[in-house]
Amino acid sequence: MHHKTLTELAQGLKAGDFSSRELTTHLFERIERFDGDINSFITVTRDQALTAADAADAARAKGDSRPLAGLPLAIKDIFCTQGVRTSCGSKMLDNFEAPYNATVVEKLEAAGMISLGKTNMDEFAMGSSNETSYYGAVKNPWDRSAIPGGSSGGSAAAVAAGLAPAAMGTDTGGSIRQPAAFCGITGLKPTYGRVSRYGMIAFASSLDQGGPMARSAEDCAHLLGAMAGHDLRDSTSVSRVVPDYVAELDTPLAGLKIGLPKEYFGDGLDSDVESAIQEAIRVYESLGATVCEVSLPHTHLAVPAYYVIAPAEASSNLSRYDGVRFGHRCDNPADLEDLYKRTRAEGFGDEVKRRILIGTHTLSEGFFDAYYRKAQQVRRLIRQDFLDAFDQVDVLMGPAAPTPAFDLGAKKDPVSMYLQDIYTIAVNLAGIPGISVPAGFAGKRPVGLQILGKHFAEGQLLNVAHQFQQATDWHRRHPADQETT
């Protein structure tokens, strides 16, 4: 039962094939057996989960038939969970127990879901390989010598390895889509503003967006429906009706216009990845879609613009970690300046420090216009590129990443790591939704097809992804179990 989709598990619960407690217990046993090596969880909340599972079983016995009730999931350790450590992958918050729940956590719990625990991630979501975590790297369940992607690497690995049927992720520059691609699962980054950011620890506030990671587009549709919506506590969440995403899944694709951005198929694209994507496109053609080439002319500016805007916001967002009120505090500070310096020197890892420094620099007097203001101008151009493309086509398709998962420790140079996100980053700058679906393999390592849509076209993206999954079985593949040695 550990490789079933949420939809299948819901049927199993309904049919009485197993209970929530049995399902949950089984997953904890698997975590116990297999996660030592994968390292996808930072914190496991067994007692709370079993209590919630019993309550769900009791409710089901009394007729609770909500689609997500009694189903477990894992939560990226960036979402605040009341009374449970919320570390954000950082030593800085190793001792931090949030006194409140993130809106997303609240909503999923209200839908009856059961949290198994908190998943590993790049520190403060800054990374593309999950190697910057204070809690150690996560291994790719398909190939233990590979990274799982990042920053939602723990969530992706847990779902791929059959430790959790679904997980919450966040995506600031590709952090849901790229690990979903690398681990062979389905991951959706919603439109900016579709899902509340309240209680989601901020990396870059104008780019961050939470979303579901699961084994099928159908599961993502259920999860998005439960977590989306306006939140009075997040001014940037959008007041807009949440459609019935599940109802849209079966719309036929005949006449769908697919655009292939030529900039996403250029130099640096791995040939195995490219052929998997081309094969996926042919599947869409067989489903009645038409395909044409489009251009997103400012694509080459996306990574530079992102690495101005995201660090600028991060440098400010991470100022609150000062050792005064919560989190890590250095021992015996001599004075205020010493408290700040040592607390932050000890509490943050190298990548976080690098980005705080970049952001502090780009916002500084004399540099602001050249960096931050220019990057915002570029951001508008990139957004316009997408809007222009969507005048011609319904969705855009391409690879989620230029290569399959790379080896652990392979990318020592930060810039080569940043370039990993070349196909995902522009999407966050534009605020549009994107989904990655499994589309084959490059050797042992999965390849993800990225589908992009107009603002608030999650329903269409899920429909397009679901129809692909009806015609293929890449999303049903799973890696072999491997005992912790």
């Binding site: 605040c80 950011r197 400010s316 100022s319 609150r320 916002l363 931050y372």
Partner: protein
């Protein structure tokens, strides 16, 4: 050399919203430390600000009151710096696009001299918490109750030329915000705090001198003294061959001096950038016009109307319009008695003397404006004379009766205007005081004028103060002059 002082002011006004500018926590003053700080105020990981619309409405009302430009779009930005009582490591404020643009405030310097001070802009921001340095044995305590309290920072142009003008400006701002009801204006509790920019230049020179900024001056008197000290310091410095450096200074009221906090070189680079957690504030003309309908009559308008329509002197109009409660009290008295001059005299005279003596705010006056108006009416219709009126006022003050009429009846203070009764009393007084009558009749006109007071006094005494003094005077004169 003749020196000219140039002063610009930044006034931070605490807005009177019930909850904070970006959270639902209470803004009430004086609670136990850290009991009015929620997750948002503490800057916990993951929290987000939500703008309090009440603060926006108040800022717009202020903008309308100073006839300012109110842009359609304004933006919150983050001002980044580290300080223990600044929980997020940045203050959410406004910089490039403030909510209120250029405006102006009219100052009344004395009965004839007025001056217009230009407002550069006013912007919304959140207050920080407080660092407490006492009682922690060498450590510091942090109280975040104040963190997130909404402030409107009003920035003037450097238009003031003396400490007196600066004080008049702060008084004018104080009057406007308290009239609008957007702040309690309580300077002792920090509801209004000023940063004062001061420079000096040789008279006639156009270029400004180098300025010093004096931070956090918290009373009208301290503003005056801080400026006076600073002006003298700068002039002496320059005359001794020195140079003023651009710096931030602190006014110490105990020592009555300013001293350097930090120079320009040590100043923070605040790295302002638009706050990505808050949407721009968009104000359409319908919203602004709606806010306009909520505006009360403002201090200057009131003052002008008191002078021109009610015929009060410039001085009276100024005093009675100085604060909204005083103006409202006066107008309520006027509404009952209908005589502006009498109402003005009573409010500034008897009432004000009593209030001052017992240090009571006019809002809590034991004599209501309706009661005072009733009392004045009885003076105006000659029911009681001036002396009795003071007795009635004292009785009202002491709550010895519900209304002037009740007290007049109970104490028999109704003025005697019956000519027969008054004549009888006068005849008696004349009969009882033959010596004085004889002296009077021998005296010349000038002396008689002084001597008649004795007889009036006797008659008033006989009437227990109720006789109409004018009437008594007339009849007495007639009778004494008869022989």
């Amino acid at each position: 050399m003749q020196w000219e002082t140039v002063i610009g002011l930044e006034v931070h006004v605490q807005l009177a919203t019930q909850s904070k500018i970006f959270s639902g926590a209470s803004t009430a003053f004086g609670a136990e430390p850290n009991t009015q700080a929620c997750a948002v105020d503490l800057g916990l990981p993951g929290v987000l600000p939500v703008l309090n619309e009440g603060a926006v409405a108040m800022a717009v009302q202020f903008g309308l009151a100073i006839d300012a430009e109110i842009p359609e779009t304004s933006l919150f930005e983050r001002k980044n710096y580290f300080y223990p009582d600044l929980p997020k490591g940045y203050q959410t404020s406004q910089m490039a696009q403030p909510i209120i643009g250029k405006g102006e405030v009219e100052l009344v310097l004395d009965e004839t001299e007025r001056k217009t001070v230009r407002i550069h802009h006013a912007h919304l921001e959140e207050d920080a918490g407080k660092s407490l340095h006492e009682d922690f044995h060498g450590m510091s305590g942090i109280d975040l109750n104040r963190a997130g309290t909404p402030l409107l920072e009003i920035v003037s142009e450097p238009d003031m030329r003396s400490a007196r003008e600066a004080v008049a400006y702060i008084r004018a701002i104080h009057a406007i915000v308290t009239y609008l009801g957007i702040s309690d204006g309580n300077m002792a509790e920090g509801s209004m705090r000023c940063d004062v920019n001061v420079s000096v230049r040789p008279k006639g020179q156009e270029a400004f001198g180098t300025r010093a900024e004096i931070k956090n001056v918290n009373s009208f008197r301290f503003v005056e003294r801080a400026i006076e000290f600073e002006v003298e310091r700068q002039i002496e410095l320059i005359e001794d061959g020195g140079k003023v450096v651009q710096e931030t200074r602190l006014y110490d009221p105990d020592l009555d001096e300013t001293r350097s906090m930090r120079t320009k070189e040590e100043a923070n680079d605040y790295r302002y950038f638009p706050c990505p957690d808050l949407l721009p504030i968009m104000l359409d003309s319908a919203y602004i016009e709606h806010q306009r309908t909520t505006l009360p009559e403002l201090p200057t308008e009131k003052r002008n109307r008191f002078e021109s329509d009610l015929g009060l002197s410039a001085y009276d109009a100024g005093v009675l319009s100085a604060t909204r409660p005083t103006a409202e009290y006066f107008e309520a008295v006027l509404a009952v008695c209908g005589d502006a001059k009498q109402a003005a005299n009573w409010v500034q005279g008897e009432l004000s003397a009593h209030l001052n003596r017992e240090n009571i705010d006019i809002k809590n006056s034991p004599v209501t404006p309706e009661q005072l108006g009733g009392l004045i009416s009885r003076v105006l219709d000659d029911t009681i004379n001036g002396k009795a009126a003071k007795q009635v006022f004292a009785a009202l003050w002491n709550n010895d009766g519900q209304s002037a009429d009740e007290i007049i009846d109970a104490q028999g203070l109704k003025q005697v205007t019956d000519t027969g009764a008054i004549e009888a009393m006068i005849d008696q007084v004349i009969a009882d005081n033959p010596v004085q009558v004889a002296q009077y009749r021998e005296a010349d006109e000038a002396k008689r004028g002084k001597m008649i007071g004795f007889f009036v006094g006797q008659v008033m005494k006989a009437s227990r103060g109720t006789a109409n003094p004018q009437q008594v005077n007339g009849v007495l004169k007639q009778k004494l002059d008869e022989a």
